[in-house]
């Protein structure tokens, strides 16, 4: 019997690794296929400038999706990320432009706003036991209303602080290595992804997020304070929304208080296309980044080809479903 068990464990280990590699390969290959298709279809698609545009266009949705990944791994959902992003942008605007505080303080205000909103959602979910869908739907409406109230339904511009715009669109790398002027936005996205991957893979918070998503009751019975950790996960998600808020404010050089609706579904789509299961317990940061890239590549490519926008909606819908379906077939194979 001893031999048999050892064998089974080893086999499972190997097949696990194989499946894991396949997953990454697969999501990647979907992206590569889309990329090759558009490259062949239009010479303008594959220019370095356009590739850089795609990466920059991925940044905001990608960062939102990073936060949502944690939430979905706990088997939850966050519909409020878009409007919380906007609220954070508005608060940053209030701090920097209306109050004249230094930019770093403004950034912290943005991050704290997002974190606080996430914290409140988390408390509603973990303490008051309100289903995540409803708690974050409520937060979505509240953040949206507050953005308008606080900004007095007017954009807040960062014209007095020209350097604010450089956060996203400047190029620190370009300054160091002339000729390689990749906008900071790209590095912020990948930096945030690294932080997220670290939190998910190497810290207690990531571990408990997976455990809660896998079996919340068992986690609770193991003596883990599920309510606190769940709250922390939503707060973390909120922090990413806050970061996205600072990013979008910098990109648009203004806090636009009416933005944000529809961003939540796009972020969730990126997460799910990236192979994270909505039933919780599993998910990867790399997958989410690839998922976000697939969406923005598709949007950019269809624009470059001047496909009518109504057809663009249909095509995007079909591809979202197909991408997930391919992932499902892969898993079934496993």
């Amino acid at each position: 019997m001893a031999t048999q068990t050892g064998e089974t464990a080893a086999t499972s280990k190997r097949s696990f690794l194989r499946a894991d590699a396949a997953q990454k390969l697969l999501a990647f290959s979907a992206l590569i296929i889309i990329f090759i298709f558009f490259s062949l279809a239009s010479p303008f698609f594959r220019t370095p400038d356009n590739v850089s545009s795609i990466l920059v266009a991925t940044a905001v949705n990608g960062v939102l999706a990073l936060g949502v990944t944690f939430v979905i791994i706990t088997a939850g959902i966050d519909l409020s990320v878009g409007t919380v992003m906007t609220l954070s942008a508005v608060m940053t605007g209030v701090a920097v432009t209306n109050r004249g505080l230094p930019i770093p303080v403004g950034i912290i205000v943005g991050l704290l706003t997002g974190t606080t909103a996430g914290l409140i959602s988390g408390l509603m979910i973990a303490r008051m036991k309100i289903p995540p869908f409803i708690a974050t739907l409520g937060m979505m409406m509240i953040a949206r209303g507050l953005s308008l109230v606080i900004s007095d339904v007017k954009p807040i511009y960062f014209n007095d602080t020209p350097v604010f715009r450089e956060i996203m669109m400047g190029s620190v790398v370009g300054a160091l290595i002339p000729g390689l002027s990749v906008p900071n936005a790209v590095f912020i996205l990948f930096g945030a992804a690294l932080v997220a991957a670290f939190i998910l893979g190497k810290t207690v918070l990531g571990r408990y997020a997976v455990a809660i998503g896998s079996n919340e009751e068992a986690t609770r019975l193991s003596g883990v304070n599920v309510a606190n950790w769940l709250t922390a996960v939503y707060a973390l998600g909120g922090a990413f929304s806050g970061l996205a808020g600072v990013m979008i404010a910098s990109r648009l050089n203004s806090a636009q208080p009416a933005l944000g609706i529809g961003y939540e579904l796009e972020a969730i789509a990126a997460v799910v296309i990236g192979g994270t299961s909505l039933s919780g317990g599993e998910g990867t940061i790399l997958g989410t980044v690839i998922g976000a890239l697939i969406i923005s590549t598709l949007t950019n490519g269809l624009r470059i080809l001047s496909v009518p926008q109504e057809w663009q909606m249909v095509i995007t819908g079909v591809i979202v479903v197909l991408a997930v379906y391919i992932d499902i077939i892969r898993r079934r194979g496993k």
Binding site: F44, N50, V60, P155, L252, A258
Partner: protein, 321 residues
């Protein structure tokens, strides 16, 4: 920057019969003031906020109460329907109304008519005689003017792209058609390469315009049909370092656009008179309450502005930041 208007003190309470009786319980001591709900097509855009400030100005001048509301997007026909319905339920002295759809609201307008509530249209008309007057911009003519300016600035030939806020709203359709038809009719050497819709979302419009500019390295001009769209175009031009290479023409105003025109990134824009629209429609409503006869059409006008006249006395009051 408020439009000139005479303060008409005789406008107040005597003739507000329908509202007076029911109103007392609701709003106490202010019950004497006539109440005029202003139902707009939106409220989040700066354009609508400017209309709102004009109507508030008029409310102060004529001593009436107004409320200003509109759906979150111009696609939300049914939401506006319910707003109008709720407004009628309040038995107001008059209603100012900008329809998101030229026909769907007619039954409610008929209801208002039956109840003796005068209706004043603004911004865009409805296919009905019920509104006693409509204070509006001729968007088709305005966009055609933008097309003429575009043609002039690019030398009547080359590629241009158009970014519209959405494809179903009246303003979106009129501005698109006004621009496109004018180009097609008068400038055979100009090719419209892309006609896109950015939903008024500044971020999406930015990424969209960037893709279009990347796909058309020889693009000579870009027309943005509302403030959100033109912000996208300006950001795209800016992020790609194409300032001065593309003739950018916009619509409405807003701080970013004003700065771009002053800075030479944007060639110029069409402005309507949003503050005037808001002011005029409330003014007309007050006149209707007082039983005065009104002209059916109150043309609030549109104007081309660029770096040369942006600070002029004629243009400056029409712009909002």
């Amino acid at each position: 920057a408020a439009p000139a208007a005479t303060t008409d003190t005789s406008s107040s309470s005597a003739t507000t019969a329908p509202a007076a009786s029911g109103d007392e319980a609701a709003s106490g001591d202010e019950a004497a003031k006539p109440y005029i709900p202003v139902i707009s097509k939106g409220f989040q855009h700066q354009f609508w906020q400017a209309v709102k400030s004009g109507s508030e100005q008029a409310a102060a001048d004529f001593n009436v109460d107004i409320t200003f509301e509109g759906p979150e997007s111009e696609a939300m026909v049914d939401k506006q329907y319910e707003m109008l319905q709720a407004a009628i339920a309040k038995n107001p002295a008059a209603i100012c109304f900008a329809a998101v759809d030229s026909q769907a609201m007619i039954p409610l307008l008929e209801e208002a008519q039956t109840k003796g509530i005068p209706v004043i249209g603004f911004d865009s008309g409805v296919d009905s005689d019920i509104p006693l007057a409509t204070a509006a911009t001729d968007n088709i003519a305005a966009a055609a003017l933008a097309a003429d300016k575009m043609a002039e600035l690019i030398g009547e030939s080359g590629k241009v792209a158009v970014l519209v806020h959405d494809q179903t709203s009246r303003t979106g359709i009129d501005r698109r058609d006004g621009f496109v038809n004018e180009i097609e009719a008068k400038y055979p050497d100009i090719e419209i390469v892309n006609l896109d819709y950015g939903g008024g979302d500044q971020l999406k419009s930015t990424d969209l315009a960037k893709a279009v500019i990347q796909a058309n390295p020889d693009l000579k001009g870009y027309f943005g049909a509302n403030e959100g769209s033109i912000i996208g175009v300006l950001n795209a031009v800016n992020e790609l370092g194409k300032e001065g290479e593309i003739v950018v023409i916009g619509y409405d105003s807003g701080k970013q656009q004003i700065d771009a025109i002053k800075g030479g990134v944007e060639a110029g824009a069409i402005t309507q008179n949003p503050v005037g629209i808001g002011y005029k429609c409330v003014e007309a409503a007050v006149k209707a309450i007082n039983g005065e006869t009104l002209d059916k059409v109150i043309d609030t006008g549109f104007f081309w502005y660029d770096a040369t006249n942006i600070d002029s006395d004629e243009i400056k009051p029409l712009l909002y930041e």
